[in-house]
Subunit: 245 residues, 2 copies
């Protein structure tokens, strides 16, 4: 048998691009590093995967330890492995994105990796000179989110449990970086039958209060099982009936 030892000298990490939504603005959670390399730089919350830990488990642990986040929507996006991306040696990293309701979030990093934890507008990320290749990772995850939000109702993960249609529209506008038509947006969203009308109203706003809605997780599960088809549709030509004479 050959000697494989030379291959077992690398490490891998997970990095999380954590999206939140706040007042019409899409944000990403960053930490201020207090560990080399890139000490004092802003970067994505990430860390080495432990020897006995699956990738997803590692991503969830890091979310918990570095950002105090639990039980969030999480999805693997892409691995980054440029030879010289890490000064300590060969380290490839698996990028995840996660979606967080900002209101639920109380920044209590339980660790000594992050000095500070803060939300930044997606638009400002490029000004920060992030650690490692984290800027590229944030970009790729944002593009992925943009694509997926058209095809899966994941936007709700970013909103509080009760929300108005206008809030939902602003969220979509922030993610898709475009304006949407109010009437058409409402028509389309409501026609999907994935919202529960709570028969409650916003209170304390200095204008006509909006109705509150809730995402219908149960109905979504049903749809998933039946299998949506969002895009290109197959021919509905019927099977030829079997003739039994």
């Amino acid at each position: 048998m050959k000697n494989f030892d030379t291959y077992f000298k690398s490490a891998f990490t997970v990095d999380n691009v954590i999206f939140g939504f706040d007042e019409s603005d899409l944000k990403i959670l960053l930490i201020k590093r207090q560990e080399e390399p890139y000490i004092d730089h802003w970067g994505l919350p990430g860390y080495f995967v432990l020897p006995d830990e699956d990738l997803n488990t590692a991503a969830r642990r890091v979310l918990k330890q570095l950002a105090g986040l639990d039980n969030v929507y999480l999805e693997q996006v892409k691995s980054f492995g440029a030879v010289d991306r890490h000064p300590f040696g060969r380290v490839i990293t698996v990028a995840y994105y996660s979606l967080v309701k900002i209101a639920d979030f109380s920044p209590q990093p339980d660790n000594d990796v992050a000095k500070e934890v803060r939300w930044f507008s997606v638009a400002d990320i490029s000004k920060l000179d992030l650690a490692f290749d984290h800027e590229e990772m944030a970009d790729v995850c944002f593009e992925t989110l943009k694509r997926q939000v058209r095809v899966r109702p994941i936007g709700f993960e970013l909103l509080p449990p009760k929300f108005t249609l206008t809030e939902l529209q602003h969220l979509y506008e922030a993610i898709l970086e475009t304006d949407l038509d109010k009437r058409n947006f409402r028509k389309k969203i409501l026609s999907m039958n994935l919202l529960i009308d709570l028969n409650e109203m916003q209170a304390g706003v200095a204008h006509r209060p909006a109705k509150l809605y809730q995402f219908d997780y149960e109905k979504y599960q049903e749809f998933l099982q039946e299998g949506f088809s969002f895009e290109v549709k197959e021919s509905k030509r019927k099977e030829r009936p079997v003739v039994t004479d």
Copy 2:
């Protein structure tokens, strides 16, 4: 500074799910392993990433060495890192899919990893008891291909340079696992203006010969730059004209 040595004891590999298309049948290229672990099992062409090699470079090298393939369409799909997925230690792998014109392919593996190289129908993969978690990887890549083919004209990578519309339709049917309506398919494909009518005919077939077409890479590049939008469309409400009085 902390001691990070414990983390630098893992390895990573790349694995390729290579798709080809042949006579209405979508296929995956597998190798018969002649190395431990899983010696004599069929598996995906994959190998360790070298210490000074980027991930994509590694994927291309492996394509070349294990399958004799050069210059093919390649896309990273997902990383797999279950703790016990490799008997030699902690190994995570990055799965790629690639698209190959079977006609171009002359199986000349330049290596001692693969004993044999062969195309298998996608439908038969599950009967083969593939090495490692390669079956899951093949499944995930197939799903990814299915999704992407609706949204990008990558199907052409699987066909010879000159093809008929019927061949193209069969390809889509194989990937999407469905039947398509001939007239509607042609209408849609031709309306995209991405095909060049070669004014040539099939020859030597025992029926009315079909016209041959070619994919228009140049026009596709133009489209990409202008930016397609296949799916949800944004509001076309015009900007309010600037009033300069």
